[in-house]
Symmetry: C2
Subunit: 192 residues, 2 copies
Amino acid sequence: VTEATSNERLWTFAGGDIGAFRVLQTVSVCGATLPDVTRLNVFSGVTPKGAAAVAAPGFVLRGVVSNERYATRAEKKDLVQAQAAIGRPEAQHGALIPIKKNAAWWALTQDERRRIFEDDSNHIAIGMRALPAIARRLHHCRDLASAEPFDFLTWFDFAPQLRPQFDDLLGALRATKEWEYVEREVEVWVER
Amino acid sequence: VTEATSNERLWTFAGGDIGAFRVLQTVSVCGATLPDVTRLNVFSGVTPKGAAAVAAPGFVLRGVVSNERYATRAEKKDLVQAQAAIGRPEAQHGALIPIKKNAAWWALTQDERRRIFEDDSNHIAIGMRALPAIARRLHHCRDLASAEPFDFLTWFDFAPQLRPQFDDLLGALRATKEWEYVEREVEVWVER
C-alpha cells in the first residue's frame, strides 16, 4: 500500500491569520456564516509549503477542480476563448464564495439540472458577460471522502475597479431559478 | 475547526486477509492488476468497525456514491423500478470492478460524454437488461482529495447461478464505444 498523495486538482482555502490574502469582509448570503478571520491561505494540495502556514485556521475548505458538469462543446469553446486565468497581476481583489445546494437539487436528474442551470437560469450566458474581467475557478467538494460543509467553492479575482461588474454578476445569478436550490452561501472578500 | 468526519456516502474496499468476502480471483481486463489478496473488507466510511479489520491490506480503494451524471428522469424512473439493492441473501457472489477512463474521456464535454455513454453505447439500456438479477452500486473516486488509481468502483452482487448473465453484461459493455476510453479495468471476484 503506497502512501496517500494529493489529488493534483485539489485546492485548500484556509482561513486564519496567515496567507497571501487579507480578508476584507465575510458576508453570509444565506445560511450560517464562516468564522471571522484576518487572512486567507490558498494553496494547491492538502499541505501548504511551510508548516507555519497552517497556524490558527478559523476554517479549512477544500475542493477539487473537475470536469464541467453542464457545458456543451459550443459553450465550452466560447468560455475557453473568453476566460482569463486566476492570478493576473492587476487582479488584486478576490472573493471565495462557497455554496451548498439543497437535497432537492441533488435529487434531480442530469437533464433536469441542465434545464434549470442553463435553459431556465442562463448560468453560462450570465457568466460569459463578466469575461474576461472576472476570472473564476470552480472546485467541487460534495464527493470528497470527508463530510464537507459546502458542495462548491468558487474562487474569483478581478481588478479592484471592476467590483461593480462582479456585483452585477452575483446579483444576476442569485435572481435565477437555479439559486432557489442554494441553501448556504457565504462571501469571503479578500485583497492580495 | 471541527474534527473531520466521513462523507456518509463514502465506501471503502480493503483487499487483504480480513473481511466478509473471500476473493476467488483477481483479473486484469486492461492495465495493471491489483495485488493478490485472500479477503475483501467492504465498509461504509474510512474506518471499519474493529481495528483488526484493517490488518494487512493489499489495496485500499475508496469511492463516494453520488448523483447520477447521465441518466434522464425517464431512464432513472425505469432503473429505480427495476433495480435491486446490494446485499440480498441469495446474492452470495459479487465482483468489485474498478475502472479508470483516459484523459480523452475527461476532456469531453457533458453533451459529448452523454452521447457516447447512451446514444452510442446504450450503457443504461444494457444495464437494464441485467436487472433485477444483478445488483449494482457505483462509487466515484476521481474527485477525492487523494490521488486515486481509479475513477469509478462498481460493486455488484448476484446469485451464483446468474454468473452467465453477469458475464453477458460485462461483454456487452466492453464492446461499446464508451469502453474505448477505459484505460484500466480490474475484476475482483468474491464470495460471501
